[in-house]
């Protein structure tokens, strides 16, 4: 007879391992699930600075993390947007805020109005209709408030994190929930006759048994690699970046609540503000730039780099099957992708959530694995598409890296998405897509990609709306944003503090 899963062993020491441990422990406290993390330390496969999507807040709520405490103890800051520089040629910039563009015009998303204006030659900017964008630009921050349909609630936010501080915080939290930690590194694994993992053996001889194993060990996938040969979908032809430098720099005075990226001749630089310092990095293609040159370029962006720098090597792609036998790969053990969309933790968390929803009835069952692989495969491909889209829309910077990028064929599903948009301004989403219509709209409008036509119905509906009519809204949003506290003051003043966002 099949037996229920009583023990879960997790291999890995980064945020994904601890989030998975805490989430499983909490979800299955009623059955006293034993969760042990074999902490092999920071494998340094991840950036030392991270930025998340707003879903991080949901995950925190789920595992019982209090936001104020988390912010105070980890030095994290808020994130309202990402601002991209130079992606569409020198001097170009656009924002991707975590929030709506305008509001719904009847049943029609507001960005269609902008498209109609732009097609008519009028210079209407989506950022003028986003409270998150304006606040980020002004260095202001407040949490969303008010009813769902109000402009003051038209956005959400995410975080900038210090990886080491965040990991330590998560570890403490998970252990308080009853997760056991065993420091050590993996020597080998014990397999049952049918190929299931029965235990992991650590260097030094200790053996950790389990019914279900999670590999959160990073791109080396030390556990998964022993369970299967693991066919891989290689994305490096379309996403050639394969290195990332990261290093700490000094704090800037009141950094805006956003991540900055800047296109270079072989990739992109990033800057992610923390309360008391700034994380910076350079993601690049080693085929187009040497590691030294890439670091030199990073150094030019900040005069006050401090401490050890880290070089992370990766190759974009994913495991075809994330869950095989009784072993599930999460994080970079499952999907390796540059952090352009900030979705690495999001994707790992979708994996954890899906695993909880499909938590195996019996250690030996395989039907859950097949559903998990179907759903998470779609999700991973969707994140890849959104990441890749940054490189494939609008005009392109000069250079061999950028022109070579454009010459590779797009994945079918992304090609179809672009074609539909270009033909008739529709943004079509498949069943499992972590990014929403508005995210694609930010990206496409930011790249100034205009469709050849818009829907007839929408044209008819929105023809009469003019920028003049909307002027009061733009002014109102400006005022609202200007009345918010400075971002850094909001971060420092964390506590049960009243929001300063003005009432409309």
């Amino acid at each position: 007879m099949n037996s229920a899963v009583r023990n879960v062993a997790i291999v890995g020491g980064g945020p994904v391992a601890w989030i998975a441990a805490a989430a499983l422990k909490r979800a299955f406290r009623h059955r006293e699930l034993e969760v042990v993390v074999v902490d092999c330390g920071n494998s340094h496969d991840a950036p030392v600075g991270r930025w998340t999507l707003p879903s991080q807040r949901g995950m925190h709520a789920l595992i019982g993390i209090k936001e104020v405490d988390f912010l105070r103890r980890t030095g994290a800051t808020f994130k309202l947007a990402t601002e991209h520089h130079g992606w569409h040629g020198a001097g170009s910039r656009f924002m991707h805020p975590h929030g709506d563009i305008g509001w719904k015009l009847g049943a029609t998303p507001f960005y269609k109005y902008l498209l109609i204006q732009q097609l008519g030659g009028h210079d209407e900017n989506p950022e003028d209709y986003s409270l998150a964008a304006i606040a980020a630009r002004l260095g202001r921050f407040a949490r969303p408030m008010g009813e769902d349909n109000e402009l003051t609630s038209s956005f959400t936010y995410a975080f900038h994190l210090d990886e080491a501080a965040y990991t330590a915080y998560l570890q403490e939290h998970a252990m308080a929930l009853g997760v056991r930690r065993v420091p050590g590194s993996l020597a080998d694994v014990a397999l049952s006759p049918i190929g299931n993992v029965t235990a992991v053996n650590l260097v030094g001889g200790e053996q950790i048994g389990g019914d279900l194993f999670l590999d959160c060990s990073g791109s080396d996938a030390v556990l998964m690699g022993r369970v299967s040969r693991g066919a891989r979908d290689d994305w490096s032809a379309t996403l050639p970046c394969d290195r990332m430098w990261s290093v700490r720099a000094g704090a800037v005075d009141n950094p805006p609540a956003m991540t900055l990226t800047t296109a270079t001749t072989a990739g992109w630089l990033w800057r992610s503000p923390l309360a008391d310092s700034t994380m910076v990095g350079h993601v690049f293609s080693s085929a187009h730039m040497s590691e030294d040159e890439a670091f030199a370029q990073l150094q030019q962006t900040a005069s006050d780099l401090a401490g050890k720098s880290l070089l992370n090597r990766f190759m974009s792609g994913r495991r075809r099957l994330f869950w095989e036998r009784n072993c599930v790969a999460l994080g970079t053990a499952a999907v390796e992708l540059e952090p352009l969309a900030g979705a690495d933790l999001h994707l790992a968390q979708l994996g954890i959530g899906t695993l909880i929803e499909l938590f195996p009835i019996a250690a030996e069952s395989s039907i859950e694995a097949s559903e998990y692989n179907r759903v998470m495969g779609e999700q991973a491909d969707a994140v890849r598409d959104f990441t890749l889209a940054h490189y494939r829309v609008g005009s392109v910077p000069v250079g061999e890296f950028w022109s070579a990028l454009r010459s590779t064929p797009l994945p079918q599903r992304l090609a179809e998405k672009f074609e539909l948009y270009c033909a008739n301004a529709r943004i079509g989403l498949l069943d499992f897509e972590p990014f929403e219509e508005v995210d694609w709209a930010w990206l496409l409008l930011g790249a100034e990609v205009l469709p050849d036509a818009v829907e007839l119905q929408v044209r008819t509906q929105l023809e009469a709306v003019t920028p003049e009519q909307l002027a009061p809204v733009r002014t109102h949003l400006e005022r609202l944003a200007a009345s918010m506290p400075r971002h850094i003051d909001y971060v420092r003043g964390q506590g049960p503090q009243k929001s300063h966002a003005a009432k409309s």
């Binding site: 406290r29 909880i356 033909a423 008739n424 529709r426 007839l456």
Partner: protein, 515 residues
């Protein structure tokens, strides 16, 4: 603004008039010219007398007044479909337009129900569904707008006379400037350059030209198939029924707010109660029963006196390879056929029309503009997805059965089903999980109704549902049960509600209309 879009709708009937009415209503008059060509000689099939709740969105979008529509079409309300004898003779379940209970701690209700059932502490699942309880008691009231009220946990659809529906829509469309010509199409002219349909020629020699042709000519697909040779994907290996006999009969007993589908030796029989009569039909496979026998079986199994002789229909389950080909969009039977077991015919018409309206652009009316292949391909992918998802759901009804010693059912019980359906069924059996999707028909409650109703019993439930004490689970189930029963107790009888809401204006002349 560009020139008006000239739309030619080939064929009246439900599909043709739904298309004409919707386009006329959604596109401003100066942007379109709509011309419907129907032949009074050919007559209409009058697809589908039973609808799905989605039709209400369609009505809303195009501005149809529900009460007027219902009064003019002898309509009744529909809370779901009763399936009799599908898994075993004697079985009965209702596929409701609404949920069973609601999620507890994020976990679907049925998992807790399974757990309580295993402890002997649960009532039958259908008693936790308001629309089912109301349907069983022949009661009806409109749902509440308050999302916290148990009266908000259901939707409703209509059962109506399809030919009256087409007539109603015709009036609606004509009052919005749609032109109608009574004539038979004898020739179709294609443009030499690109093979687009240029015009159709009528028996009196006149030519009707257009930019966009909507083919609502029924099974034969006058434009989409006969002229454009688009091709058809047959699904007979999974859905072997290929004939129907239909006959109206006098009403007998109270008007049920639901449609009934009863499994029969070589197919199934429908029963759709309207204000003035009851529609009936036998959908069957010609490999397993003759037309004569099917006709006489049908006549012998009516509630009341037959009002006509049975009429016979032939069809092939499947889908046109492209719903939109060049400048022709096939709507209704011209686009594909799925038997009306889950009342999807009008839904599939509706979805083709509204998707078309969504995808029409303001581009110039050239091949590269309005008929941009990128738009056309996306449209076709969407319609394919809709058909495929309905298909799997229909196959489930035939496959999940214990009926035996009847050739049709022996075949269906043992056939290989599509992998997508196989996966769905395995996952449900293994742990009561329903595979869900973002777009397309049939959400979790629909799948639950058929799985449980047809004895696909899971061997386990979601382990997260073990998170509550069994006494707590029991109490919550009990609370839902009580709320449902007491809400239904306050609902008026279906007939009483109809009488106040939408009584048919005149006792309509009984028609021999097929469903």
């Amino acid at each position: 603004m560009r020139q008006p879009l000239k739309v030619v709708v080939v064929g009246g009937g439900t599909a043709g008039w739904m298309a004409a009415a919707a386009i006329a209503s959604v596109l401003r008059p100066e942007t379109r010219e709509i011309h419907v060509i129907e032949s009074s000689e050919i007559g209409i099939v009058g697809v589908g007398e039973a609808t799905l709740p989605h039709l209400r969105f369609f009505n809303k979008r195009i501005g149809i007044d529900e009460r007027e529509l219902m009064a003019k079409t002898q309509a009744t309300f529909k809370l779901g479909i009763e399936f009799r004898d599908w898994a075993r003779p004697g079985d009965s379940y209702i596929h409701p337009f609404g949920a069973y209970g609601s999620r507890i701690a994020g976990v679907p209700f049925h998992n807790y129900w399974l757990r309580a059932l295993a402890q002997g502490q649960a009532a039958p699942l259908e008693e936790y569904s308001l629309p089912i309880v109301a349907a069983r008691m022949n009661r009806f009231a409109l749902p509440s707008e308050d999302p916290t009220a148990v009266m908000s946990t259901f939707g409703y659809a209509f059962q109506f006379d399809a030919s009256l529906y087409a007539a109603y829509l015709r009036g609606f469309a004509e009052s919005r400037g749609v032109r109608r010509t009574d004539g038979k199409i004898v020739d179709i002219r294609l443009r030499g350059t690109d093979g687009f349909v240029e015009s159709v020629q009528l028996a009196d020699g006149s030519l009707v030209s257009g930019d966009l042709f909507i083919d609502c000519s029924g099974f034969r697909g006058l434009l989409i198939e006969q002229a454009l040779k688009t091709g058809y994907d047959e699904w007979t290996r999974w859905l072997p029924c290929d004939r129907a006999a239909a006959v109206p009969c006098e009403n007998a007993g109270p008007l049920t707010p639901y449609t009934r589908a009863t499994a029969r030796e070589a197919g199934w029989q429908w029963r759709i109660p309207l204000q003035h009569r009851t529609g009936n039909g036998y959908v069957y496979s010609s490999s397993f029963i003759s037309d004569d026998e099917a006709g006489s079986k049908l006549l012998s199994r009516l509630d009341g006196k037959a009002l006509a002789d049975p009429r016979f229909l032939r069809f092939t389950a499947g889908r046109r390879r492209k719903t939109w080909n060049r400048n022709v969009v096939a709507v209704g039977l011209a686009g594909g056929f799925l038997e009306p077991l889950e009342s999807t015919s009008i839904y599939l018409i509706q979805i083709a029309i509204t998707t078309l309206l969504d995808y029409l652009t303001d581009a110039p009316l050239t091949q590269a503009g309005a008929f941009d292949p990128r738009t056309v391909d996306a449209f076709n992918r969407w319609i394919e997805m809709e058909y495929d998802r309905v298909r799997d759901f229909l196959i489930l009804h035939y496959h999940a059965t214990e009926r035996h010693d009847e050739p049709l059912w022996d075949y269906c019980r043992t056939m290989e089903v599509p992998d997508t359906l196989k996966h769905k069924m395995e996952l449900f059996r293994h742990r009561a999980r329903v595979v869900t999707y973002k777009d397309g028909l049939f959400l979790e409650p629909s799948w639950l109704a058929v799985y449980f109703g047809q004895r696909v019993m899971p061997t386990a439930w979601d382990p997260l549902a073990d998170g509550l004490d069994i006494s707590d689970v029991s109490a919550r189930l009990q609370a839902v049960h009580e709320r449902v029963q007491s809400a239904v107790a306050r609902m008026p009888a279906h007939e009483e509600f109809l009488e106040k809401y939408c009584p048919a204006e005149t006792p309509a002349v009984t028609r021999n209309v097929l469903t």
